[in-house]
């Protein structure tokens, strides 16, 4: 009968109208500035550099300026300049550190390839999306100081990843210390020791990608 399809349609919209008052599934508006948005843990926006602690950020940067992320980044938005001198890192081994580490967030597309390929877990994905700058160039070019954030912040953003990364790094440090202690003991035991064992090469990149 002509018009029956239209009546059914009106029925559906009426059901949705009534539903919008009592059925949460039919009221989808989230009033954003008033109710803060609940981001999933895996959410990623721009990268940030992890530092061991908040007190001395430039001193305890995990990044050793190996420039793997600079080469792998598809839009080439990372710029690194190695330092001249070396600085002992968390495991006590002297490592380089980045004198200049800049990310142009106007170019970065938050694809997190840099996080995947970084062998030192030095760069992780941030969750800030309210990014506004007064000018397009300087405002969006984040330098080393702006990028560095403490490990505690990383724990706050991605708890499961942070725990897994800390577990792995802790194990590595323990292994490095035992080797150092064993080397020291061997040196103490036999006064004319052989040349100390070559410090372990950075963890081969072939391991499964950390999320």
């Amino acid at each position: 009968m002509l018009g029956s399809g239209i009546l059914k349609g009106l029925g559906v919209t009426a059901k949705n109208f009534a539903g919008s008052y009592h059925d949460p599934a039919r009221m989808v508006t989230q009033e954003y500035p008033d109710t803060p948005v609940k981001l999933p843990e895996a959410y990623r926006n721009f990268p940030f550099l992890v530092t061991e602690n908040a007190t001395d950020p430039m001193g305890t940067l995990r990044c050793v300026a190996c420039q793997i992320c600079e080469k792998e980044c598809p839009p080439q938005c990372i710029y690194i300049e190695k330092s001249k001198d070396k600085k002992p890192d968390a495991t006590g081994k002297p490592q380089l550190y980045p004198a200049v580490f800049a990310i142009d967030t106007a170019v970065c597309m938050s694809c997190q390839l840099c996080v995947e390929v970084c062998p030192f877990d030095a760069i992780k994905m941030d969750q800030i999306f309210e990014v506004a700058a007064t000018n397009r160039f300087a405002g969006l070019l984040l330098n080393r100081e702006q990028l560095a954030k403490p490990n505690s912040y990383f724990h706050q953003l991605h708890p499961t990843d942070a725990a897994e990364v800390d577990g792995r790094l802790g194990a590595e440090r323990k292994a490095a210390e035992e080797k150092a202690r064993a080397a020291a003991a061997a040196k103490a035991a036999a006064p004319k020791p052989a040349a100390p064992a070559v410090t372990p090469a950075p963890k081969p990149a072939a391991g499964g990608p950390t999320p």
């Binding site: 349609g9 009106l10 009033e31």
Partner: protein, 412 residues
């Protein structure tokens, strides 16, 4: 035009309260001016009431559509100085009005300045004229005309003139084409609109809206009101009136002119700022006036649905039914798709006009057989219903010949 209304019954009741206020004001002026002040007062009342009604129809439309679509709708606008006051968006229309007024009013260089300026003026003036004859309450009728309905349609047709002036005045090829298309739509739906009203005139025997509203008084067993919509021919006439009113005011299934599938935004392309707001307001005034006429003719005007509900003043019933019809139009807008221009005119000429003519015959049959009582009344209802339903089904089947939902086979 008698100046003095029928003497209101003594004692203050809500029904005649507005009349007492009016008489109190009118008598404060010298005799020579009383006639002028009396009409000036009713004009200002209509303008303020229906101006606010227009404002809150826009906000109601946006919030109702939002609720149909599982979202909230505008709820942010409050008062500028009372930031903390939570007003659920009620001041949104005034914010829109300020925006429309302050926006730059661009007039194209090649435009015909006179026509371009005159079009919104004419369209608002004529769409407001329709309110003069609507009986808002038992005693509240601005102008008691003997040929009220003829006056209403005379005022309505002039809006076509304004749309032509807008289309031609903008000196823009596409807006002229769209104005032509809008005119084709208006003219082709003028006929079903008037034909759907004629049965009411035939049965009540008068063109005056006040008498029509009075004719629908009374209830059988105190519960069933004698509104025209509860008779077969009245129901059919009401449906045709609804469809034609939707088309006349360019709303939902027929909003061809400003459809994006059209070339540009119809004859309103070259208008901006306050003139565009005027067109927008005229559309809503036209819609409200048509709904008011629909309420008066078919839904019993200011008559209360049940005898005991007479205590509520009549003008509240009228405004309630008017708001009900506007909500129905918004509901239709939230659901239905748009018709193509050829389907639209085919629907009018090949479906609505024949049905309206048959409905005219149906009303004649109804008017000639008031005497049938008892079992004959049932026969009367059956015949009248048959005259409506049978052609509806036959014409409907011919209209939708070849269109049906299909069933599908599956390959692998």
């Amino acid at each position: 035009m008698s100046i003095m209304p029928p003497e209101p019954s003594p004692g203050l009741d809500l029904e005649t309260a507005p009349l007492l206020v009016r008489d109190w004001i009118v008598h404060r002026f010298p005799d020579a001016l009383q006639w002028f002040v009396h009409h000036l007062l009713s004009i200002t009342v209509i303008l303020t009431v229906f101006g606010l009604f227009f404002a809150f129809t826009t906000i109601a439309e946006r919030k109702l559509l939002a609720r149909l679509q599982n979202r909230l709708g505008p709820n942010r606008s409050g008062l500028p100085w009372f930031r903390s006051l939570k007003l659920w968006g009620l001041t949104q229309p005034f914010a829109d009005a300020i925006k429309a007024i302050t926006k730059e009013d661009v007039v194209p260089a090649a435009a015909d300045k006179v026509l371009h300026f005159l079009a919104p003026v004419v369209i608002v003036a004529f769409s407001l004229l329709g309110f003069a004859v609507l009986p808002f309450g038992r005693h509240l009728i601005p102008v008691e005309l003997d040929a009220a309905i003829l006056y209403f349609f005379a005022a309505g047709t002039a809006t076509e003139l304004a749309i032509f002036m807008a289309g031609w005045g903008s000196r823009n090829k596409y807006s002229l084409l769209s104005a032509m298309r809008a005119l084709a739509q208006l003219i082709s739906y003028e006929l079903p609109l008037i034909l759907s009203v004629v049965p009411v005139i035939l049965v009540t025997g008068t063109l005056s809206t006040r008498d029509i509203a009075l004719a629908q008084g009374g209830w059988t067993w105190g519960v069933l009101p004698h509104w025209h919509v509860f008779t077969p021919w009245g129901f059919a006439g009401f449906l045709i009136f609804l469809v034609a009113a939707l088309a006349e005011s360019n709303r939902s299934p027929f909003d061809l002119p400003e459809a994006e599938s059209e070339l540009i935004a119809g004859h309103l392309t070259e208008y901006s700022g306050f003139k565009y707001a005027l067109f927008f307001m005229a559309e809503y005034f036209g819609l409200t006036a048509l709904s008011g006429l629909g309420v008066t003719l078919f839904l019993g005007g200011w008559q209360a649905p049940f005898a005991i509900l007479e205590i509520i003043p009549s003008y509240l019933w009228f405004m309630g039914k008017l708001a009900g019809m506007i909500v129905f139009f918004i509901w239709i807008r939230g659901t239905l798709l748009r018709l193509r221009i050829d389907q639209l005119t085919r629907l009018s000429w090949k479906f609505l006009v024949p049905l309206a003519l048959l409905n005219l015959g149906n009303a004649a049959f109804w008017a000639l057989t008031p005497g049938w009582t008892g079992p004959l009344a049932l026969a009367r209802w059956a015949v009248s219903a048959a005259i409506v339903i049978v052609p509806f089904v036959l014409l409907g089947r011919r209209l939708t010949a070849g269109y049906a939902p299909r069933t599908y086979r599956y390959a692998a």
